[in-house]
Subunit: 127 residues, 2 copies
DNA sequence: ATATTATTTAAGTATTTGCTTAAATAATAA
DNA sequence: TTATTATTTAAGCAAATACTTAAATAATAT
């Protein structure tokens, strides 16, 4: 259902064409931007960003290790990992009672973009 | 002051070297990751992401236009703009009583990374 | 079986967030 | 001057967030 809102900005110089163009842009990119905002929201927490960054470098890490590394309780880490897993950013591999979290393939490229300006630290080669 | 926490993860396979390496990595990247998380946190809100995206395409936009385009109240928009300005993502240009917000130069490159996988829409050429 | 270990889940809570409405600023127009 | 317009600021509030501690699962070890 097209809303076709009237333009309420009353500035003399208000550029109706620009406003309509922006609305069109949003129509086209709505879903992309919505999905993107969810990823960025996950990454926009310092603890989770560290988790993603470390897992990206190391290949995989378990909650217990991350708890050690980040000096946080295991449940606190676990809850962050769950969000990242729910958001499909991370996947898991179970080995006995240990659960290794790793970056899902489809996000590797994007995370390279995200971390582009972070001081380099080489990723571990997959063996 | 070096904390040098003992490793508490007791897994048989716990890789002490890896854990120490991660701690070193964090020491090096701490500030970068902290700053990055702030930017991503700003971008990780759907409304603000739309604002950044539109401003990136259009060059600059005012609160009144954004209020029209996003169908939100002017104060709601204004408060988002303030956060983006406080985070140094946006800058302003005043023309009479209208305030135009634009993407700060230092963030243009990074925002290209952020929006890399959003359906293309050409940026307006600067005239 | 019992104990230990790794992890998740749940409940509680203080803080942050994102809006709302109303009021305050500040520039322009009549 | 007074009115209008663009914007910000402030106060209030419901919802979301990120932790805490305790309990529940589940796999391993004794």
């Amino acid at each position: 259902m097209e809303k076709n809102n009237p333009i309420s900005c009353q500035r003399l110089m208000a550029d109706e064409v620009q406003i309509h163009s922006c609305r069109e842009t949003l129509k086209i990119t709505k879903d992309d931007l919505s999905n993107l905002s969810k990823i960025l929201n996950l990454a926009g927490n310092e603890v989770r960003l560290k988790i993603i960054y470390l897992i990206k470098i190391e290949g995989e890490l378990c909650p217990c290790d991350l708890s050690d590394i980040l000096d946080m309780t295991v449940p606190a880490i676990s809850q962050h990992l769950r969000k990242l897993k729910d958001g499909n950013v991370l996947g898991i591999r179970k080995v006995g009672q240990t659960i290794f979290y790793s970056l899902n393939k489809e996000y590797v490229k994007y995370m390279n973009n995200i971390f582009a300006f972070v001081q380099k630290k080489e990723t571990n080669p997959v063996e």
